[in-house]
Symmetry: C3
Subunit: 379 residues, 3 copies
């Protein structure tokens, strides 16, 4: 029998904090794996805790200081993620979310996958008496407990973290996340649980803002998703509806377009997916999720110039990234009962080679063949 191996890095209860740690394949008990934890110094990253984890061809970087977001990832020598104009990772001390009419979140935004939520996400608004800023707090809150665990028998390495988004007279929401990489797959699995720690029911919104740019995204990249319904976000998006699923090259001055999908699953099933292919159609980044957990997906096309942040977002969520009041009215905001949790399992996969990409496309097409595929031409 092989025992689990675990290392505690941060623990709010006991005051434990590990500044840096390197774990070798031998220490983890998993061939071809590696974990390295550091605390960055200097510039906008001063004080940011960062954990790099690699298993086989896949590696990614977790940011405990930024709500356990995934900063970067790569498969072999192919970087996933995007080139944000922001030189991060940015410590939340340098992000003033209330600034610029509630758009300050953008000053810290350079992650491959940033969570938006938990109280709210989407565009800033005054929701009743409550000013809400862009995409909520979770990406700028540090984790209170962080650990590494290896399971040699399963061949997996997992980074876990807990983030408290709580305050008096605010929602009391706890995020517990586990990011798992395994030796024998090209997959990162994210298991999140959001719990209402409070004594009254509370609303909750959660969206996985996953971003791809050059060189993975390029002219000819395709967006693949099986859907029941597709609606453009606004007039500007409606203009590009016919070509929502293909990408242009970097186009300075491009004004963003957003498409809102109800993702489809096979009859009797709840598993869905969305993917973005590279221009050569020789690789695809795939997200797999359960439509009971993430029933709404936004596709964000912000394909401006390379230096302005040429990027597309695949954004499965509990709701769409509209202002919360819009989502509430549409009945899409989750309410968590006292003590209740919301579970999400999300998989990032890398499909390598033309055949694998074709298989993803075939899978999407096959699910689509059983789905409505309604396209609304107006927002």
């Amino acid at each position: 029998m092989v025992m689990d191996r675990s290392w505690l890095l941060t623990d709010w209860e006991s005051g434990l904090y590990v500044e840096s740690l390197s774990l070798s394949s031998a220490e983890l008990g998993i061939p071809d794996s590696r974990v390295e934890k550091r605390c960055l110094r200097g510039g906008l990253s001063d004080g940011v805790d960062l954990i790099e984890v690699a298993a086989g061809e896949l590696s990614c970087t977790v940011l405990p200081t930024r709500g356990m977001g995934l900063w970067r990832a790569s498969y072999g020598d192919v970087p996933l993620g995007w080139q944000s104009p922001v030189r991060g990772p940015v410590h939340p001390a340098f992000v003033n979310q209330a600034a610029r009419g509630g758009m300050g979140w953008l000053r810290g935004f350079d992650e491959w996958m940033a969570r938006c939520g938990l109280e709210s996400h989407g565009a800033p608004e005054e929701d009743g008496d409550t000013p809400l800023s862009l995409h909520g707090h979770i990406a700028n809150l540090p984790a209170q407990r962080v650990a590494v665990a290896a399971d040699p028998s399963a061949g997996t390495v997992t980074i876990t973290g807990t983030v408290h988004e709580t305050a008096l007279f605010h929602p009391k929401l706890l995020l517990e996340t586990a990011v798992t990489l395994g030796l024998d797959s090209s997959r990162i699995t994210i298991r999140d649980k959001v719990t209402n720690l409070g004594d009254v029911p509370t609303e909750m919104e959660l969206l996985y803002h996953t971003n791809y740019g050059l060189p993975f995204l390029g002219e000819g990249s395709r967006f693949l998703i099986p859907f029941e319904e597709l609606t453009p976000y606004h007039e500007r998006s409606a203009e590009g509806l016919d070509t929502y699923d293909v990408y242009e090259p970097p186009t300075p001055g491009f004004v963003e377009q957003v498409y809102l999908f109800s993702p489809a699953a096979r009859s009797g099933d709840t598993a869905s997916l969305a993917a973005i292919t590279n221009p050569q159609q020789s690789g695809a980044a795939v997200m797999r999720f359960d439509i009971r957990q993430l029933p709404h997906v936004a596709q964000w096309k912000s394909t401006g110039g390379a230096s302005d942040g040429y990027v597309t977002g695949l954004e499965p969520g509990t709701s769409f990234p509209n202002p919360r009041s819009v989502e509430r009215e549409a009945g899409r905001v989750v309410t968590l009962a006292v003590g209740a949790s919301y579970d999400v399992t999300l998989m990032h996969e890398v499909a390598v080679g033309g055949e694998a990409v074709d298989a993803v496309a075939a899978e999407v097409a096959e699910i689509q063949s059983g789905a409505a595929g309604t396209v609304n031409s107006l927002p």
Copy 2:
């Protein structure tokens, strides 16, 4: 002759900073005492300086990074303070006071005793052209000078700190505080001096937001204060006027009630007090103060669910926690002349045992017997 013993921990002038320090009873020269200074790492507390000081049965924790607030205290194994939904202490870098309509202060609020002020306290407002956020700056400003001093002959340990709340075109206010614990008493004495460092007179507000929750506060806990006048804060408070002095158990969804008191003293005297008893009436937390220094006391009942922050606040202040413009109009905002100081001496005592609690109640009753005790039924 016994010399004072002192240790400088932070000094802005000279650039001195002590990361950690442990002082034993022998080093302090005081039996049964202890001081420990640390800098917390990780999570929301990353970078927070914390000083634990204990003498006899009493211990408390001072937060230089949060305006020399008192984070926690305990008597023997009984914790004072409350269980905030916030997992702190929270570094001010994670508190955006301007957020959420000026309510961002709450994201850092988990102290046993937080000072509110110094430029203003109370609810956010636009006071003339000046937007003021909830409860002012002082709890989110770090101390520029921090020291420990022991006086073996008096048997006391004192933590001192200075906090500058200053900026061009803002009030220039200096807080100098000394927190003293003594071997032969169950008392923490706080001596504060607020000085106008500027060249023109300036307004000043100061309130001691002292908070009790489970297990000290519970169903049947009583609030004791001798008063000249009592006024409910708003309609919601007026509803509970008849039972302002008793506490309900944790009640999810409870909407806060606030009562405003003019505390009374014996004829010819200026000493007053307020207390909160435990449910068993076997213990009481007592605050003693001078009504010339702190002529206004707010009682805050926020007895929602245990996880939502079941809490009551005893809040003696230079004014009530209304918006500053309201307090100014009522003539309750202090103006400090150039170079002038405002002194406050405040004592936290723990009454242990039924007899001690009865003695506090009797003291309050006796003072009340000579006071008007006017109760205004409308806000």
Copy 3:
């Protein structure tokens, strides 16, 4: 041949960060020089990187954490700069620029020379849909790359730094700065380059907020500048127009006055200057600049009480410190094409002795004799 000597202190790309470094005259290869880099701890300065550099009689302090601002300077034992009410240098984590109606910048303001910009500077406003706070971001952004270089053959020490003011959907502006001190002069040379890193043209504003107070500034100090045109900023400034160029002693309650100049150069030349003399006329602080680069100069008189921040500002800029929308309408906001840079060379000189001061005055008078010198009596 003498090689350059260089030391990298912070590098975002490689993750390099040097906590502290002392370089002696011998290590720098320059007689009578010194560099010391530290990271401050405790209070408002916690986490601030600071570099002191001295060559001959002149020394100054550079703040990588505050946008490469110049915190303090001195010539011999004469301090330049001013005594701000702020006890800094202040880490940006303690500065909430959005607070108090966009005036939060003042909570960190105590530099001798702070840059204002790069997206905007001047008074807060809502420029179209975009709320802009006082004086922009650059002074509260940390440098991503910092280095020291010595050139023994030239006899100079240079501190270089790069600061990124970038975000998605924001301007993408890069500041590269080099601060040079040389052995055989009483001069600090600042060479700045601001580059549009983005893929679309962008507006840019840059102003050098250089501040003098006691003891250098005092009653009888004079302001010297050759100008084509002078306009008071507002009615209050118009009141003092006749005596704009002389200073009163510290005057508690003094309300600020601002004068806007179009600086003049000799016919066929573009070199201009502005200076402030000490009360004894035995010393002057001189700024030299090129009117093609910095065609606008504001003089700020804020000569309140000594403890309120008795100060004057010499502020050459690419535009005046009006709200950006006002400057845009007047055609004074620079637009940078894609990839374009804006270069500024600025020299701070110290004139020592009555003769040197007279020479500065004569130089100003001589340039003025060939310039229009129009004085507008109304704002």
